[in-house]
Point group: C2
């Protein structure tokens, strides 16, 4: 049994999926893997996500210590930047291999025969 942030997982692989799973978290991490982005910059990279969902996913990633949120202004218009924490950076190879496999599939590098 594996534990992380108060949650229990039956397998080391499911622990990781508990952190980066779901429809959007890997996409967020993919875009943050090499740079800092503002909220609206992330939205432009992910046009099909809703504001609420992006907001929620960013919050859970922050709570898990994967990303950090930095606010630069106290009055509107707000400027908020998101970036990986040092802990989050340890996920870069994982996210990269996930992204690479997706690219390989669409490039039809792999044969789909048994």
């Amino acid at each position: 049994m594996y534990k992380f942030k108060g949650k229990e997982y039956p397998c080391c692989a499911s622990l990781t999926m508990g952190v980066i799973g779901g429809k959007w978290k890997t996409v967020i991490l993919f875009h943050l893997r090499d740079k800092t982005l503002r909220y609206n910059e992330l939205r432009k990279e992910m046009p099909s996500v809703t504001e609420r969902t992006l907001s929620l996913q960013l919050k859970t990633l922050e709570e898990d210590g994967i990303i950090k949120r930095k606010v630069y202004t106290s009055k509107p218009p707000l400027k908020v930047e998101y970036s990986l924490t040092d802990f989050g950076k340890t996920l870069i190879p994982v996210v990269q291999s996930i992204a690479d496999w997706g690219v390989s599939v669409v490039e039809e590098k792999y044969e789909m025969i048994d």
Copy 2:
């Protein structure tokens, strides 16, 4: 826009997550990464999954061409073995890096500070 098996994804990372995402698929692939297993052997490796869920996940993995299902007997008791296809084997590095990160976290290899 990325396409795979009739589904569209906004990012190469989300394509991969569409195939291996969800609560159980990476766990199945983790256990099948180096060996063939029967249905009940898989259940023993994953005691907390229900029969129905395991069944459904195996079916979608088969439909996506990731695993193959081989039936050895025509009359009960049935013998069915699951293993990775050649295409599924291309996912091994991805699953392995996912599993490795989970292990690293519980071994506290990484510091959780910003």
